[in-house]
Symmetry: C2
Subunit: 348 residues, 2 copies
């Protein structure tokens, strides 16, 4: 668990932003932002330049007693109208919200009686740069994912049903300590033509000769990991071999281009150009931040405005998908340091 100083630093980051932007108060209610600022993924909080209050249901006072005892913020029991009354008393000239669904924002605006509102992503932006504590959790999460990858190498074989292989791999990931199965909807394991469907779900079909896209991860202390490999089953065709080697190489070349200060869009455009040079389209972004969410900021796409900075952790995942035939993706989770990229999911 993060220590008191870490939570204080994060909350201070929000408060500095509010002060700089002249925003009276920010309300936080999304699970991951609450977890980041307070260590509890439930409740509702109001942060101002010089105060920070978290409301949680009574049942959580006991569950999180040891955390709340040393928390650098106030904890109150959630009662109907408690947050509304608090904000109405503050009466901020300008109030900030997370990027909520419109209807929810409309209701809150009315309940809080606030006029000028702004939608901000300050917490998501703070979350982009990981502390040493966070990197160690991400590394632990990545080592669980690697246990899953090793199991995948053992169980992926011709004639095995995709879901039987997945059952074994996901069970290995859980036994190794993952708090959740990979990602939100489980791992991807897609053989042959199904590898060309980016949204493929494992099914009861049997793995055949050819390429199998395996995309998996883990969650440890709230932090995710994400890696993909494309495994070969039996002899490959020439086309399969050429694409397999090309994508692995584009992954390496993209990682080599990572350094502090480079634009995410530049690295993404490089990979896109390489893939197009081979006669294919690149159907998704080159990468995404990884942390409390499996997909978070920064975005590594040709349209991204993010600049890569020290402490960011994100994926690099080029892929080529040949409809009706096969797909290839290689993906690693990278920690960007002052001395360059460190691969958290490098194969053993």
């Amino acid at each position: 668990m993060e220590n008191r100083a870490e939570f204080r630093r994060r909350i201070r980051g929000v408060q500095d932003y509010l002060s700089e932007k002249n925003i009276g108060a920010l309300t936080v209610s999304s699970e991951k932002n609450l977890a980041y600022l307070f260590g509890v993924g439930t409740g509702r909080a109001v942060v101002t330049e010089d105060s920070c209050v978290l409301w949680v249901r009574e049942v959580y006072l006991g569950v999180y007693a040891s955390l709340f005892e040393r928390a650098p913020y106030s904890v109150r029991v959630y009662r109907p109208q408690a947050v509304e009354r608090y904000v109405r008393r503050l009466a901020p000239a300008r109030m900030a919200f997370e990027d909520l669904p419109c209807m929810q924002l409309k209701v809150l605006k009315r309940k809080f009686g606030v006029g000028r509102v702004v939608v901000v992503d300050v917490v998501e932006r703070l979350r982009m740069v990981k502390s040493p504590y966070e990197v160690s959790m991400l590394r632990a999460s990545a080592s669980i994912a690697k246990v899953g990858l090793r199991r995948a190498h053992e169980v992926v074989a011709e004639g095995v049903r995709e879901l039987d292989a997945v059952a074994e791999i996901e069970a290995a990931i859980r036994r190794a300590g993952s708090e959740t199965p990979p990602f939100e909807g489980g791992m991807i394991l897609a053989g042959g033509a199904h590898g060309a469907d980016i949204h493929a779900r494992p099914s009861t079909r049997k793995i055949g000769r050819g390429l199998v896209v395996v995309d998996l991860g883990a969650r440890f202390a709230g932090y995710h990991s994400d890696l993909s490999r494309t495994l070969s089953v039996g002899a490959l065709t020439r086309a399969e071999r050429v694409v397999l080697e090309a994508v692995a190489s584009i992954r390496d070349e993209s990682v080599d281009r990572l350094c502090v200060g480079v634009k995410a869009s530049e690295v993404a455009a490089y990979a896109e150009k390489r893939i197009e040079g081979l006669g294919y389209h690149f159907h998704h972004a080159l990468g995404h931040g990884v942390g409390l969410d499996i997909h978070e900021k920064p975005s590594l796409s040709p349209q991204s405005k993010d600049v890569l900075t020290e402490g960011m952790v994100f994926t690099i995942e080029p892929g080529i998908y040949v409809p009706g035939r096969f797909g290839v993706r290689f993906e690693d989770t990278i920690h960007l340091t002052a001395r360059g990229p460190k691969n958290l999911t490098e194969s053993p």
Copy 2:
């Protein structure tokens, strides 16, 4: 897979709504609403009173070729600006959106050049009432969940690590054909005092004597299932036994109150009153719709405005949580028919 008539009926439902509300066009981009209307959880669609167009990335034309061949809507290849140009040409006086995050809505409004916009939940409301096809998929999904429950009865025992039990149960659910692990973050298996934490994650701690909350489900053909049981390990204390029996009984009494035309809030208020009569608070809603999303409309809470109608499928899940000691929850997925409730997750 749904047949052409089923998709046509769903799209017609949206078109009738647009016509009735005098809305020129609706844009659909959320995964589950796309899946419901078009059978493809990706892309962007624009529906008007008398037209329906879906844009998907080129790579999906091949993946979904057989679906698109007989689709009762037009399919076009997604190109930058294609949807924007289409909407600008339509120039609807009033345009409807799903309940998107505010920033996204703001960007779309500008891109489409539309003035008057409304946020609607018409697709989510259509999704509340399940067709016979959908009920059969929900039933198949529930029978996979029951395989998981049977495995839970086999593996939950004193001294077993929670994550080892979870690995076995989730693997059984995958082998039985579930497209995803249970829910979005995996199943819940929480023993003793951890059972009192509604958000508990299984961990490496060992199961001890007492109560163990097991909450699991499956996904089949896109449709979810959801059930909870509270298992006993060794001898129970008197307090544990009393609460266990009470919650099971409140589940049964709540199900008995279900009939076409009853208000969801009434049933929820009944359960809440029963729990409060025992000296506890009820910390969550009594139930939620189950379908393409694990949590969808209707809501069974005392604040709900939903009326239960024929064809709805939802959970009934009373729980009592005693901080620092134990938790108890029983949950079934119910299909409401003209002749009353049918329990899809009844234990064998």
